[in-house]
Amino acid sequence: MSGIIEVKKLCKQYDPPRGVMAVKDVSFDVERGEILSLLGPNGAGKTTIISIMSGLLTLTGGEVLIAGYSISANPIDAKRLIGVVPDEIALYPTITARENLAFWGKMYGLRGQKLQQRINAVLEIAGLSDRADQKVETFSGGMKRRLNIAVGLIHEPKIVFMDEPTVGIDPQSRRRILDTVCELNRQGLTVLYTTHYLEEAQELSNRVGIIDHGQLIAIGTQEELHKLVNNFDTIRLEVSSQMSNEETAGALSQLPGVHRAYSENGHIVLQTPDACRLLTSLVAQASREGASIKKLEIQESNLEAVFLHLTGRALRD
């Protein structure tokens, strides 16, 4: 069965034919009531994909269907079904929260009592009922972020696109936003969520898509993605030795329990099914090879490891 959102071979090139290819052949579906996170570093193309899907940018190839409506051929019908929470705080600072919501509600065709009901409802969701009549410019960053989300929900959409909604806010506000997303999803809202925080993707998502350099390099449930790295833990070492990192990695790869060892960006990276069990023999072997360990990091099997495995670099790089 096809999803409520279908993205087929999506491409975006700025200033064609020679411009940057920002999105290359991206395809995925989102099922009704699902949270799909697009995870990737800054500049990976997540915002471009959401911008195309929400009708802000035009695509240069492929197709996006929202509940069967093409965002290219029937943008007005498609946009009615979507709520968008952009990565920047897109609000009018010199008017109140209520006035902001009223304006955006009207832009979605809401009027009269229905509009007032929705304003009160989303103010409640955002926890801003007591600040409704204050100017947005007096709000903290977290409150603005919450209002930004409330605007995206004003017309009671079936689908909401959230583009990095927790960037630059305090932990409490972040927690509140994540709880809100979960609660809305429980009520049946389909969420497409982009983030470069793997913890958010891990906590929220039914499925995760990993984006890098404009390409969707993997998509699936977290279990499915972990299988891509065989549920291996990752050990990163910084060593001081007469030997090169490649030679040291070669020597350490002989240890029992090491699946793979290689040198990367001045570090030695080992993949193993159980990092804790390997530690004693690893330190002893390094010592025998004349290498002193200056720094050691253990990373259990997670999306970071998956990203590292698939792209050869860490998500935070």
Binding site: I76, R80, Y92, I95, K106, G109
Partner: protein, 412 residues
């Protein structure tokens, strides 16, 4: 339509709530009206009269009446009769600074004006020649001449009607009582308030002659248009501000057609512009006693046309500018060039041929000409229809250009 109004109203409210915008919207018209009032209708009007010499070559009676009608110092022009008969020699007197302008009535002035009641006969030609000192006041002199010529035409019609009706009623005197009604009907049907005589204007080039402060009517529309241009150019830049603040992206993501969005943004500018110009007119009229002509409908039509044209021009500037600062720089440049070419600083009649043609491509020229017809020459709404049509056409072309560019930028 509701969405267009929602965006337009939001922008209007924003501007009214913004302290700086409020100052510009409310205070500036009052200040400008104050400057107009003090500079143009205050003390010393007498000492700033334009001196003009009438060379009356008319062989009929109307030329002399014209001299009498024109000698109205309230209009800011002091007419004197000249014994000179030769127009070329009289021009030399202007160049010598003995008088500032010449008004030449041709030999057939009376005959042509009386015959001109018959539409097949061409209107008489009054020639005006302005020296450097009066070059910027040419419209004022023309306005006075227009007014006098219209009165004379009304007089000519009245005479004809009277003669005609008296013949009819010579057997029955009681019919004479109907003459007043007949006058009104005839004068109305013949549209005597239309331009009665063709006024040709020539001016000598402005050299380094210092131009003195002089009376009112030229400056009122000129300042008003210049002010309106500055105000309205500020507004479409809000599109770029919305782009920077992210709300433009959010607006585009709502189920709103791009044309509705742009119309809404421009609608907000129009509302503000009309409000500001209305304030300028009301303040200058009631506080400082400046008149803006007798045609309220003409004034409303011109304000709407000018506001539409400038708003669309502002949208083009916003559409083709990369950011707010660039839009400000381009807008400032266009304001100054348009004002210079269009006649806000000096009468565009002074420009050489090719520059005069270029001047016709500016909003300012058509706007100033339209307002001058209403304010200086006391003409009516039908006389500014051409100006309004040209301005609305400019607005349409500019809007389409801005829309085309915006769509390309949005798609990018």
């Amino acid at each position: 339509m509701k969405k267009i109004w929602t965006i337009a109203w939001k922008d209007t409210i924003f501007r009214l709530r913004d302290r700086n915008a409020m100052l510009l919207a409310l205070l500036a018209p009052l200040v400008i009206a104050g400057i107009m009032g003090l500079a143009l209708s205050g003390d010393g009007v007498e000492s700033h009269l334009i001196s003009a010499t009438i060379i009356n070559q008319d062989e009929g009676p109307l030329g002399r009446i014209f001299e009498g009608l024109s000698a109205d110092v309230n209009a800011g022009v002091e007419f004197k009769s000249s014994p000179l008969k030769d127009f070329a020699r009289a021009r030399e007197a202007v160049e010598r600074g003995e008088t500032q302008a010449l008004v030449y009535l041709p030999r057939n002035f009376s005959a042509a004006l009386q015959s001109a009641v018959d539409k097949s006969v061409e209107a008489p030609i009054i020639q005006i020649y302005c020296g450097a000192e009066a070059a910027t006041k040419a419209d004022i002199i023309r306005g006075v001449c227009d007014r006098s010529a219209r009165h004379l035409r009304a007089l000519a019609i009245s005479k004809q009607v009277t003669a005609s009706r008296l013949r009819i009623s010579s057997e029955e005197d009681w019919r004479a009582s109907r003459l007043d009604a007949a006058f009104a009907q005839e004068i109305s049907s013949r549209q005597v308030l239309k331009e009665a005589a063709r006024v040709e204007l020539t001016t000598s080039p402005i050299g380094d002659v210092k131009i003195r402060r002089n009376p009112f009517a030229f400056f009122a529309p000129s300042l008003g248009i210049f002010f309106l241009m500055l105000c309205i150019f500020e507004a479409p830049r809000s599109i770029l501000v919305e782009k920077d603040e992210g709300t433009l992206g959010r607006l585009i993501r709502t189920p709103t057609k791009p044309s509705h969005f742009l119309l809404g943004k421009l609608g907000g500018s129009c509302l503000t512009g009309i409000l500001q110009f209305a304030m300028l007119i009301v303040a200058s009229r009631f506080i400082f006693g400046l008149t803006w002509g007798d045609s309220l409908s003409g004034l409303a039509l011109m304000v709407a046309a000018v506001v539409a044209a400038y708003t669309s021009l502002g949208a083009v500037i916003a559409a083709f500018s990369k950011n707010v600062f660039q839009a400000g720089a381009i807008g400032g440049g266009i304001t100054m060039i348009s004002a210079g070419l269009g006649g806000n600083f000096f009468a565009a009649d002074n420009l050489p041929g090719w520059l005069e043609a270029l001047s016709r491509m500016t909003i300012n020229r058509w706007a100033l000409e339209g307002f001058s017809k209403l304010v200086v020459r006391d003409l009516g709404v039908s006389d500014v229809v051409l100006n309004a049509v040209v301005l609305f056409s400019m607005a349409a072309v500019l809007f389409v250009s801005a829309f085309w560019k915006f769509q390309r930028r949005i798609a990018g």
